[in-house]
């Protein structure tokens, strides 16, 4: 069971790197949505011995939300804004890949040093979570397009979700669904803002937003 889970987490970490290295927005969104689906499968695998409707609901909602609804919204925003690639990132694609790789290695090294519970020691959950958070940060810092930043934010959130899986038994359903709802609403809001930015500035380049300070 642990091998399957570690494989999934490893895949998710690979998708992180893919997200960092892609200049085209559709492939970024694709990587993110695929990562979301993997994350949705994880609770089922972790608790395959005592499955119940609750877990099923969580998995389904996660896969639907992270894998389908949010990516669809983002694709729509992308089409509306008529943008499909990141042209001038603050951090280039190769440097961000290197940063991401270094972050992943650091996350693995760090999780060795952390005092984890024995049943979590063999899992890649903690390094995967930290690596995803760092990837999210790199995307947020390095990208100029608003849609890339939304993706960065979502990958960061995925990292937090991974961390939350450690507590899957003790987190109530309400909290779980609350987080999911939060993210979805956040993406809705960002979609609207993206549309507004597009109309006001004729571009989604967040650098132009500095004109709004004070």
């Amino acid at each position: 069971m642990n091998e399957t889970l570690n494989l999934l987490i490893g895949l998710a970490m690979g998708l992180n790197l893919l997200a960092l290295g892609s200049s085209r927005l559709p492939s970024l969104i694709q990587a993110m949505s695929f990562q979301g689906m993997l994350l949705g499968l994880m609770p089922l695998i972790m608790e395959h011995e005592h499955l119940d409707w609750r877990l099923g609901l969580i998995a389904l909602a996660t896969i639907a939300g992270k894998g389908v609804v949010i990516p669809t919204l983002l694709r729509r925003a992308m089409r509306a804004a008529n943008i499909d690639r990141e042209i001038e990132p603050f951090i280039g694609f190769v440097p961000s890949l290197l940063l991401g790789a270094a972050g992943t290695i650091a996350a693995v090294a760090l999780s060795q040093a952390l005092p984890l519970l024995p049943e979590h020691a063999g899992l890649l959950l903690v390094p995967g979570a930290i690596a995803s958070v760092l990837t999210g940060f790199v995307l947020l810092i390095g990208r100029a397009e608003a849609i890339s930043q939304v993706c960065g934010y979502l990958i960061l959130e995925n990292g937090i979700y991974l961390f939350g899986l450690l507590l899957i038994r003790s987190t109530p359903l309400v909290v779980e669904s609350g987080i999911l709802l939060d993210v979805t609403v956040g993406v809705f809001v960002i979609g609207i803002i993206v549309d507004r930015i597009q109309r006001a500035f004729d571009s989604l380049d967040t650098r132009k937003l500095t004109a709004l300070r004070e």
């Binding site: 810092i141 390095g142 500095t210």
Partner: protein
Amino acid sequence: MSGPLLLLAFVALVTAILVGVRSSRWWLALTVTGAVAGLIASLTVLLGATDWEWRSELTLGGELIHLRLDGVSALFLALLSVVGGTGGVYAREYWSEQHYPASAPRGRAWWSALVLCMGLVLVSSNGLHFLIGWELFTVCAYFLITLDRRRREVRAAGWLYLAASHAGTVCLFAFFSTLAARTGSWELGPMREQAGLAPLFWLALTGFGVKAGVFPLHVWLPSAHASAPSHVSAILSGVAIKMGLYGIVRFSGWLPVPAAAGWVVIGLGATSALLGIAFALAQNDFKRLLAYCSVENVGVILIGVGAALLAEANGDAPWGRLALAGALLHVWNHGAFKALLFFSAGAVLHATGTREMSKLGGLWRTMPWTAGLFALGAVAVSGLPPLNGFVSEWLVYLGLFDAVTGRGPAAWAAMPAAIMLAMTGALAMASFAKAGAMIFLGAPRTKPAAHAHECGPGMRGPMLVLAGLCVLIGLSPVLFWPAVARAVASWRPAWAAAEAPAPLAMLGSVHVVLAVLMVAAAVWLWRKAHANSVRRGLTWDCGYARPTVRMQYTSASFAGIATGWFRWLLQPERTLRRPRGLFPTEAIRLERVPETVLEKLLGPVSVAVMQVSAAARRLQHGRLQSYVVYVVAGLMALGVLVLLGGAP
């Protein structure tokens, strides 16, 4: 009896604020009523034996209203009433409706508000209410300073005043709130037995020192006094800066003071006195000269207060009460003669439209009343007998001399202070000789000066009242002794002295004799000058056949030697173009004395502060990406901190 009178004053002033915008006649009647009621109330307390105290069930800001009028506050309230009333009368003609249709109504309302708020500060006996009154009075004074706000320099002076006042108020907030936290209540009153409160004195000294214009904190004072309308300058200098002194006297009386307080206060006083008058001497703007002279007089008063604190620290030496009495009497005296001087400066400004002495001259022919009253004020402010300035400075001197002959450690403070006080007196006389000579003697230097006109009775009356007060205090100081002794007694109950010191009575009679002789000499000179048909010339005609206006002393050359001694401090800026060649065309020598403390010290410091702030502001640029970097960096730093901290 004080209670109803204070209530009357309160009601009159509140009504005056309300009707002041509409009718100047009603406003004047109400303001003068308020001032007279306040004066009588304070005199009742000063000449009676009991304090007036009123505890109300009403609350303001969650605190019960508690008012108190004791000797110290009554002394200041009397001064406020006199200057507030005479200034009101003066303002009606000086800042009249037909000259300033826009600002005259506003000015009337703010005037009453200022007098009212200062009165509230004086009577309130609750820290919170004191602060509220203090802030209100600061704001009222700001609006009065900027009455003529179309002029840029007036606005700049107003801002500087407001900024400096608030810097001082920060200290007062700290002072009152710490006091309230330590004692558990905002109530004020004698609490000298709580020795732990002593360090708070430094906060009070700084906060009140800004308002009083003690030397390095005086930066707001010259420009505010010079740019404000003259009746406002008079109340600022005569009363508002005294509120700072009131705070210092009040809280050094009610609270315990640190051991070094006497030394520091006497040192600050001596510095203020000497450096203030050095700056005054170098000014060309006569209102600025008067403003710096206020810094000097605050210094004189602080010397007295410092000597009293020293005396107390040295086992209640009797010379302390003499020095304190001198200081408190000087509060009155300075209020009277400085208001008189600002009123006469206002009359000159009214008649000629300029404050620069190098554009005036020869005004005594056209403005004899103003010239005479200015001369009287100048004699008083220079501390010459037989007027009031001499009486109070003489009391301070007596205290200092007794301290020196007492041979305690206090002698080491008293001796330099006495020497500096003497130098200050001499320089003050030089300053006012210069001011009087430049403005009133010689020939008019410009056309407006030649066409000046005497001020009307509405301005002359208040000046005469104040001049009368100066003469009265000078000729019979014994009359005023009980009031001052009462204030000293409420500062330190142990220092209650029933009898006036014997030399004071003698001083009064000497002054009367001196005054009679001087009047006789003046009459004799007058008759001689008129009987023998003496030809009259210009003041500095020096025997030339055709003296011209440009041969006269200028204000810089008149004081040139004395200002040379203080060149290290004044840092004058010079422009000099020497005559060149065989047929020189033009030569120029200009000298300007900057506001040294402001321009050379505070200016660079505030520029540096602005640069640091501008650099910090660059962090706030609106780029989301960098904000995320800040967050990540912060997280990393916290992580490193936890790792290094050896988390379990």
